[in-house]
Amino acid sequence: MDLLPFFRWCDSTWLSVTIRESRVLFPIIEALHLVGITLLLGTTFIVDIRLFNLGMRQQKVSSLATQLAPWNRASLAATAGTGIMLFLSEAMKCYSSGPFQVKMLLLFLAILFQFTLYRRFTESEKTRFTPVKSWMVGLTSLCLWFGVGLAGRAIGFF
């Protein structure tokens, strides 16, 4: 399947052209993207250190996860929204970027994991926690999300 026409179309949309032609829009959207990432990773990190039993030991995992869920989802929405705008503005650059492809793959896996296994494991009252399972779930989420961040940063370097 050839995605080139799709990327070309993205690159020529009104939003794409507007962001590209403005000197301030790209930096502003990029800063908001970073703020979103910060909160997204922060909320995930707090639940993960509880899974690792390295902090918040007096709180139940499900209590932490459900209380932080609205912020986790909101920051994901903000990061995705600004991310789509950044992508549109330089779709052709992304088309030929290796790190971008890696990022999209990791992002797909991270979101899939977050809304299936991770969610069920951390937000359910009925979860039976064992140290091994908790570490595996926590580490997988950290590796996936930091991997997305790493590949995302690499788009700018290569």
């Binding site: 000197r23 930096p27 502003i28 990029e30 800063a31 970073l34 703020v35 990432i37 910060t38 909160l39 997204l40 990773l41 922060g42 909320t43 990190f45 707090i46 250190i49 902090g55 918040m56 030991r57 007096q58 709180q59 209590s63 932490l64 209380q67 932080l68 609205p70 912020w71 930091f146 961040g149 790493l150 940063r153 690499a154 370097f157």
Partner: protein, 163 residues
Amino acid sequence: MSLYSICEWLQNTGWGTGIRESTWVFPIIETTHVLGLALSVGTVAILDLRLLGLGLKRESVSQVMGQILPWSLSGFAIMFATGILLFWSQAVKAYDSVFFRIKILLLFFTLINALVFQFTVYRSMAEWDRAPVTPLRARLAGAVSIALWIGIIAAGRTMAYKF
């Protein structure tokens, strides 16, 4: 000796030049600095949200603070160390950048905000520790902190651009 010439000297030292001209060291330090945001600002933001009564309302403030701050502080240690190295390698660029100056100023305000919190409303924390909605001064400290960090992130990112 002016501040400018100190910056010039700094970035021309062996370390400064080495970091700036390396293929991998600069990107690695830079990426660590960016992803360190999650550990430093990302965790502090959770505490700010608790102070604002917008997150983790069922937990006491002292619990959230005591459990989260050690992580935030180790995050800030990473940010500080990598930030120094980045500055070292491009001190002149930072000196010339208005965004860098804004960033340092905002960082200073963050410190003031934390100190004001520590020496005022924090002292009576026992009285409102479990309250879902904290006193106005505590909420103010949380809101100011979040606003400052957004400004710091934006200023830091914008340093890369020339206007």
